[in-house]
């Protein structure tokens, strides 16, 4: 046997240098200027949220009758609101809330969505029919109305807003992964796994799932952006944050009446939302370009 091996051996050099997939993706990502700007913005807001108490000496709550609606100045950089609270501090603490909701609602949607999508896509037939119809039903509702109804059922609170946002986004991820599974299932390497007698579950989790993750990660990043906007909308309608909680959407709705007299109460929270969302969107777009350039 060894002898015959010698005959065969005909070594060839490998073309490309060794790279892991992730390192490779990171390298491509690093080249994308906008993605890096996005990442910087996101990290910036994460740091703001984490170190909020060190970055400001003003509390984010309290009722301060002497300081009502002060316009921005050197002490209150972004001015104060109608309770005399420092808007800058509230925005810092608000970053925690928005990022937290954005991140965890997406995680929730992804877990549930992936699970349903995988099953539907892989097993097909009636399982698929039921799950897909379920998604259809959910998608047929205007999502914000659905979220409003869910929060109305659960009662308004940040956590319930998070749950509602997670629920309404499940079909997005579910469908995405289902369609990915359907196409990955037809890939030749899945056929090749079958041809060595691999079990279904192994195929599903070792081969199909990892190949479905890229768009999910991309969609998830973009989804955080959407979730932050949705949370702000619920907050704006009074269905998210509770009084006193420095949620950005809630800050906007609380200050709506000051549009003419104290526009800074609206400008800064709005900018904060926009900037964070821009950050996630840029980062997500960049990720997509880096991870699966085909779907650009």
């Amino acid at each position: 046997m060894k002898n015959s091996l010698q005959i065969v051996a005909e070594p060839v050099k490998v073309v490309a240098p060794k790279k892991s997939l992730w390192i490779d993706a990171w390298k491509r990502l690093k080249k994308q200027r906008s993605a890096m700007i996005g990442l910087t913005i996101v990290l910036f807001f994460i740091l703001l949220g984490v170190f909020a108490q060190f970055l400001t000496s003003h509390p984010y709550d309290g009722f301060n009758t002497d300081k009502i609606l002060i316009s921005p100045n050197s002490e209150h950089w972004f001015g104060t609101d109608d309770q005399g609270r420092d808007i800058f501090s509230r925005i810092l603490y608000g970053a925690r809330i928005s990022l937290w909701i954005g991140f965890f609602s997406v995680i929730g949607s992804i877990i549930v969505g992936c699970y349903l999508g995988l099953i539907a896509g892989f097993y097909g037939k009636w399982v698929d029919t039921i799950i897909s119809r379920m998604f259809d039903i959910m998608l047929a509702f205007p999502s914000i109305l659905l979220a409003i109804a869910i929060v109305a059922v659960l009662g308004p609170s940040l956590f319930n807003a998070l749950i509602a946002i997670a629920i309404i986004n499940v079909p997005t991820y579910g469908r995405l992964i289902r369609s990915r599974v359907l196409s990955v299932k037809e890939e030749e390497y899945i056929m090749s796994s079958k041809s060595i007698g691999m079990s279904n579950s192994r195929i599903l989790f070792q081969h199909i799932l990892p190949n479905c993750m890229t768009p999910i990660i991309v969609q998830g990043t973009l989804g955080i952006a959407t979730a932050i906007l949705e949370a702000a909308a619920l907050g704006f309608l009074g269905l998210g944050a509770q009084p006193g909680e420095p949620e950005w959407g809630k800050m906007l709705s609380d200050s709506r009446q000051f549009l003419t007299v104290a526009p800074w109460t609206l400008l800064f929270p709005g900018f904060a939302i926009m900037l964070t969302v821009v950050g996630f969107n840029m980062f997500g777009d960049g990720l997509r370009d880096a991870l699966d350039p085909k779907t650009k």
Binding site: L5, A9, P11, V14, V15, P17, Y189, S192, I196, G197
Partner: protein, 323 residues
């Protein structure tokens, strides 16, 4: 000649067409493979040629039951594998393996080459992790790659190298029969010859049997001992290499051979240009399926389906010209 390793009898594979469930009661089928029979003996290479869509891949995949046959038998080592349980299929997988056409699509991009080659061992053998690793290195060596390639990803390899990985994976369990489905079609000319040589060397070293599927007549001729020509789900001619290429009997085979461009145009045959395209396998022509394009068509061809006829020297043909 040695004993048969696999015997295919009247194999049919019909795909149901996705139809309008509600409003169209009549079910239609793509008759991808429509009753073919052949035998492959141990240590020989049977080539399967035909044009795109004639059912070559479907045949190849159904031997491993990656596509369930609609009818017919596949007798592998004396057992009809179309009827056995999935558990028993494991043994079959150990002895029969597939090399895929597209070296880009048939390797999971998220697994290292080492993992990919190890997988069949993991599933179908009781080797210890260390033994498995040794075997992976050995296999890499066999196909002309190096041990240090093991922890790289497929995308870091060129097409030819990937095809080597695919071959190593197929070899992992020491199979007896390898089905090579267009294993070199996607490769460049200069790489193609490397792989063809490799396959031949492997056959000699390990006593492999091949079912070699290709649409390239010269490649099939080079590698095969016997050749089957397929047209629209049927085998129209089957013979030894020399018999078939020197004396093609079926008009289709003749046309095919004459149409292949060659750089040595000195001893050119007169080119036979067939008219029209291959008919759809959903509603194939009646009688001889080739009659719509045949230059030697006779009235009966439209009505009667010709049977396989033994013309001696292991040469078979299904054509009304030979009675």
């Amino acid at each position: 000649m040695s004993k048969p390793l696999i015997e295919v009898k009247d194999l049919k594979i019909h795909f149901p067409m996705k139809n309008n469930i509600l409003f169209n009661k009549e079910k239609r089928f793509v008759k991808a493979v429509d009753g073919i029979s052949f035998v492959i003996h141990e240590n020989e290479t049977l080539g399967l040629v035909g044009e795109s869509g004639c059912g070559k891949s479907t045949t190849g995949k159904s031997l491993l039951r990656l596509i369930e046959p609609t009818a017919g038998e596949v007798i592998f080592e004396g057992k009809d594998i179309t009827k056995i349980s999935t558990r028993e299929m494991r043994d079959v997988y150990r002895n029969m393996q597939l090399i895929f056409q597209d070296p880009y699509a048939s390797l999971n991009p998220r697994k290292t080459v080492g993992k990919l080659i190890e997988e069949p061992l993991l599933i179908n053998s009781d080797l210890s992790p260390k033994d498995r690793l040794d075997r992976v290195y050995e296999l890499l060596d066999v196909v002309g790659l190096n041990a240090y390639h093991a922890n790289r990803y497929p995308h870091e390899f060129s097409g030819g190298q990937r095809q080597r990985v695919g071959i190593a994976r197929a070899l992992a369990l020491n199979p007896k029969l390898i089905i090579a489905d267009e294993a070199v079609s996607a490769l460049d000319v200069s790489i193609q010859s490397q792989i063809l040589n490799l396959l031949r060397k492997l056959q000699q070293s390990f006593g492999l049997t091949y079912l070699f599927i290709s649409h390239d007549l010269s490649v099939v001729k080079h590698i095969s001992d016997r050749i089957a020509v397929m047209y629209l789900g049927e085998i129209v001619e089957l013979g030894t290499k020399i018999g078939l290429y020197d004396k093609p009997l079926h008009p289709y085979t003749q046309a095919l051979l004459s149409a292949a461009p060659s750089i040595k145009s000195t001893n050119r045959r007169e080119r036979i240009v067939l008219e029209g395209d291959m008919p759809s396998p959903v509603s194939p022509p009646s009688g001889c399926k080739f009659h719509t394009r045949c230059f030697a068509k006779m009235p009966e061809c439209e009505l009667v389906r010709p049977q396989m006829r033994d013309m001696g020297d292991g040469h078979y043909v299904a054509c009304h010209l030979y009675k």
